[in-house]
């Protein structure tokens, strides 16, 4: 019951939060130099053609009028049209956002498995070889650029060994993609019962997921290691040790106390990766949302950018609300 009341209180704040995010990103995107009308018509356009297009796009209106029009359209589910793809932004994003989400979610799961496992083992013996390996890993994961690591993986597993498929999209070109339901190819393929498409999608996921997963395991590893070491050195763990409580139980109790910090870093990474995976998306021609937004920024195509910001904001808000609910389950002190 307390959780429901809390949830209701959180959801009330979502609307003004989103409005604020839209306002700030609208002003920021508008302040990017470059006139879309000029870019759309090309170098041979006459000044009068540009002026009439500006009028048509509403670019001659004052900024606040443009903003109000944008918000009014938003309320009708209209996120504008991209002049590059000439399709409604909503349609583009519904197709691309799940691609990014699928990639990022799987990568994060890999990062959690690697980071938490290694972190817990490193903390158990702070001077052992696992701890030294973990230090080296944390340092390398923080130092290696993800696109470079992706290129190395492509070179080894595609060019040299030939094990991985070509880094050209999410599925083999000769395979017919499954009917989009969720937008995540693996899930849609399973829903359609199309195993060929499923395996093809999985094969294409391996290298980008390895890239993002292994590199983003670094911060999770560091956080797990540091928090677990602190918990295992605390008096309550020492007391368990001197009483002869089995070590795996001591570690489990310490992990239970370390989880809130670990969940926090995971949620931050999740929100960050939606846009932060863009370089890896480009390397693998993923066609994800980040790539779409960057194209928009480079070409003064503002509606895709605003649409991406809006989608990411909603996604982050959902993640943070979910994390707050997890805190409730993890920590009895908050729920009281």
């Amino acid at each position: 019951m307390r959780i429901l009341a809390y949830l209701a209180k959180r959801l009330i704040f979502v609307i003004p939060q989103l409005l604020g995010i839209v306002l700030v990103s609208f002003l920021l995107v508008k302040s990017i130099p470059g006139d879309p009308a000029v870019l759309m018509l090309g170098p041979t356009a006459t000044p009068s053609a540009i002026a009439s297009l500006r009028q048509q796009l509403g670019l001659d209106q004052p900024l606040y009028v443009q903003f109000l029009i944008y918000v009014r359209n938003l309320l009708h589910g209209d996120l504008g049209t991209s002049w590059q793809t000439t399709r409604p932004v909503l349609e583009d994003l519904l197709q691309r956002f799940p691609a990014t989400l699928e990639l990022v979610t799987l990568s994060l799961l890999l990062a959690i498995v690697v980071g938490v496992t290694l972190g817990v083992y490193a903390a158990r013996k702070p001077n052992g070889w696992v701890a030294r390996l973990a230090d080296l890993y944390g340092l390398s994961a923080g130092a290696l650029p993800d696109f470079w690591f992706a290129l190395v993986l492509i070179f080894i597993f595609y060019t040299v060994l030939g094990w991985a498929p070509a880094p050209l999209g999410r599925i083999d070109m000769i395979v017919i993609p499954p009917l989009p339901v969720t937008g995540a190819l693996t899930i849609d393929a399973l829903l359609a019962g199309d195993l060929q498409a499923f395996w093809s999608a999985c094969a294409h996921l391996v290298l980008p997921v390895l890239t993002l997963g292994l590199l983003n395991a670094g911060p999770i590893l560091k956080m797990t290691q540091a928090t677990m070491e602190k918990m295992l050195e605390s008096d309550f763990s020492r007391f368990e040790v001197l009483c002869g409580v089995p070590q795996n139980l001591v570690v489990r109790h310490a992990l239970r106390n370390a989880l809130p910090s670990i969940v926090t870093i995971i949620s931050v990474l999740y929100g960050f990766l939606i846009g932060g995976a863009v370089l890896v998306e480009i390397v693998f021609s993923w066609g994800g949302a980040g790539q779409y937004a960057v194209q928009g920024v480079l070409n003064s195509d503002i509606y895709p950018v605003l649409g991406f910001v809006l989608f990411s904001a909603i996604f982050s808000l959902i993640v943070y609300i979910a994390v707050d609910l997890i805190y409730f389950l993890l920590d009895p002190r908050i729920s009281n």
Partner: protein, 351 residues
Amino acid sequence: MSAVLTIDNLYKRFPIAGSKQVVQAINGVSLTVEPGETLGLVGESGSGKTTVGRCIVGLIEPTAGTIRFRGTDLAQRQQHKAKLAGKIQLVFQEPNESLDPRMKIGDTISEPLLPLKLDRETRRRRTADALRLVRLNPDLLDAYPSELSSGQQQRVGIARAMVTEPELVVLDEPTSALDPTARAEIIDLLRRIQNERNTAYLFISHDLSTVRFISHRVAVMYLGMIVEQGSAETVFNRPQHPYSSGLLSSVMLPHPHLKIESSVSLKGEIPSPINLPKGCFLASRCPFVIDRCRHEMPPAETVGERHTVHCFRHEDVAASVPASDTFNVFMKEAERILGRAGPIGVAPSLQ
């Protein structure tokens, strides 16, 4: 009478990372604790009191020397696991940090029973007994530590130590994080438990008035050595080591009429435990210093029944300080207030 705990010539050195130097935390500590007895271990912070306690419970491996529990050498703790299980317990200084914030009070108290391989019914009964022993409300079994006051948290800390029915409990400054009321309650509680169960205590503290109140015997530590050890009454009323005397003169008893007279005032700071001076560790600060002190470590001299002191001039020290019964008066007054024997106010002896 066979001692519960016998420590013989204990040493502990901690290596300093990235250096060949070592911290000489304990330098030849010997002591005994009898059944049902409280030995107060006092000294400034950094004197090695806590390290001694941690060596006894097995959280730290000593560098040299033996610790025996009822004749069993604790260096072979692993071989005698079954015999020792739950027999030596520890209560921490910070009640808040020593309890798992995610564990319910009931589970916290019964957790030390897990390695004892008892059946569920016995565990439940022992937990209930421990709870009654520390006078905690059984409603709190389902609460989490954060819902309790520090005094209640420390009662939980004591209950989980007592649940295994230990013969020796190391109390590492169990009252220094508490307010005066909670402190008095915890001390009173510890004394009642000792009367009921005949548990021996090693009571580590820098709070001398509390130590005087709860201890039968006292060991005064300075730079990892016990400089004087004897019955609480003798050591407090007639200290024979300059350091004991100096330490006692710094005590403020909680009553304006109670004043401690001492001619000993120690100069300077405690030397670094990394480079210990040759000879007596106190030589540089001691008003009684003679040339011999700077070259030679004074051996333990027995000056009374179970009373030893490391000082060449202990007779002069004893003679210089008038025997005082201030602490006895304090004891009586404290007993009177705690026992509610009379109206709270100034006792006739203080007027």
